[in-house]
């Protein structure tokens, strides 16, 4: 008989008049090659088909299986049950987001914020297609590559107490992605983005707790990106004070 591990899973079913999440216990096989997500799939397939959660790629790329595992924001496909033995393993929805059902949270707020920071290449004037692509050296790529590795898994938002306390905060991933384009040699939109980032609920809301970077499964370091954006915003403010004609 296979060894078992207990998963203590948050259940919230508003259609059954639940007013708050309650935890339900499930015993799943403790296999050395099983991640937390495999345990959840076992529950869904074998024990209780009503459990709701998001997942897709199972390889740390899609960013959809983020949950709180024993209180820490984790990708459940990359967190192995054997590392959490003997259990029980407490699995909850990502912190700081509204819960739709069980382990599924609503990310609409982030989607709005992501659009506001304009995470795409902005050009003052587009080069005609006949002139070819915008070229970039490997060194120029290295300037922003780290910040482009974000998979929008939202672990950083779940780790950020500032976002938990003040949901107006633009937040780690959106600012890191804004900084990714600010640092891109092909982009000319940094001052456009600054009008959003330099707001109080932009970079200045961040108090550098640093947990976003600790939680990030892709090594993006959003906290670093935010501090760099703060420095850029401060430099721009000083420049516009000393050289007002330049900021026209």
């Amino acid at each position: 008989m296979l060894e078992q591990i207990m998963l203590r899973v948050a259940r919230y079913r508003p259609d059954e008049e639940d007013t708050e999440p309650a935890y339900a216990d499930y015993d799943v096989p403790l296999r050395p090659d099983w991640a937390v997500l495999d345990g959840l799939n076992y529950i869904k397939d074998e024990l209780d088909g009503t459990l709701s959660y998001r997942w897709s790629c199972r390889m740390g790329i899609c960013g959809s299986c983020g949950m709180m595992v024993n209180g820490d924001p984790k990708l459940t496909c990359a967190t192995f049950l054997s590392d959490l033995a003997p259990g029980p393993v407490r699995i909850g929805p990502l912190a700081n987001f509204p819960v739709i059902r069980d382990l599924v949270v609503d990310l609409t707020d982030f989607m709005h914020k992501l659009g506001r920071v304009k995470p795409w290449l902005i050009r003052e004037e587009e080069q005609p297609v006949e002139e070819g692509e915008y070229l970039q050296t490997p060194a120029q790529l290295d300037d922003f590559k780290q910040f482009s590795m974000c998979i929008n898994c939202m672990l950083c938002y779940a780790a950020c107490p500032v976002y938990g306390l003040d949901s107006d905060f633009v937040g780690p991933a959106a600012i890191a992605l804004a900084q990714r384009y600010n640092l891109d040699s092909r982009d000319e939109g940094d001052r456009t983005r600054l009008t959003i980032l330099a707001q109080p609920e932009g970079v200045w809301d961040c108090t550098f707790v640093g947990e976003c970077s600790a939680a990030c499964p892709k090594g993006v370091d959003p906290a670093g990106a935010i501090q760099q954006a703060k420095l850029a915003a401060a430099q721009e403010a000083v420049k516009s004070l000393l050289l007002p004609w330049r900021s026209q």
Partner: protein
């Protein structure tokens, strides 16, 4: 206007003692608290300057007040907090600042070493000024 579906969302709240749940959060709160002690040192420095400006008796009064055991204990605690503040601030520098020399990015460790070297030099200069 929220939809009927959104009305049934469970809104998670951050508990009042959120910072006590994790060591890194607690260290962060201590760092925030350290700002008060930085302010205390600034006030003490200003009082010192005023005492020096007011002449030898005022300066002696200031020294006597600072020699009070309670003040020494408070200043000892304040020193620990100011060191925490300074070290965490210095450690942040390479992440906030991308330094380039001749177009090449200086490795973060070198930036950090530069910050500590600068700190050491300023401390040595001040020590020379006070003791020398």
């Amino acid at each position: 206007m929220i939809s009927p579906l959104e009305a049934r969302y469970y809104r998670q709240r951050v508990p009042l003692l959120w910072w006590a749940r994790r060591r890194s959060y607690a260290v962060f709160m201590l760092r925030e608290l350290s700002s008060l002690f930085v302010a205390l040192f600034v006030v003490e420095l200003l009082l010192l300057v005023r005492a020096v400006a007011d002449g030898a008796p005022a300066y002696q009064d200031f020294l006597d007040a600072m020699a009070n055991p309670a003040v020494i204990v408070v200043n000892g605690v304040a020193l620990a907090f100011v060191l925490l503040h300074a070290v965490t601030f210095a450690n942040l520098t390479p992440r906030a600042m991308v330094v380039r020399i001749r177009g090449r990015r200086v490795p973060p460790r070198a930036v950090l070493a530069g910050v500590y070297l600068g700190w050491l030099l300023v401390t040595a200069f001040l020590a020379w000024l006070v003791v020398g």
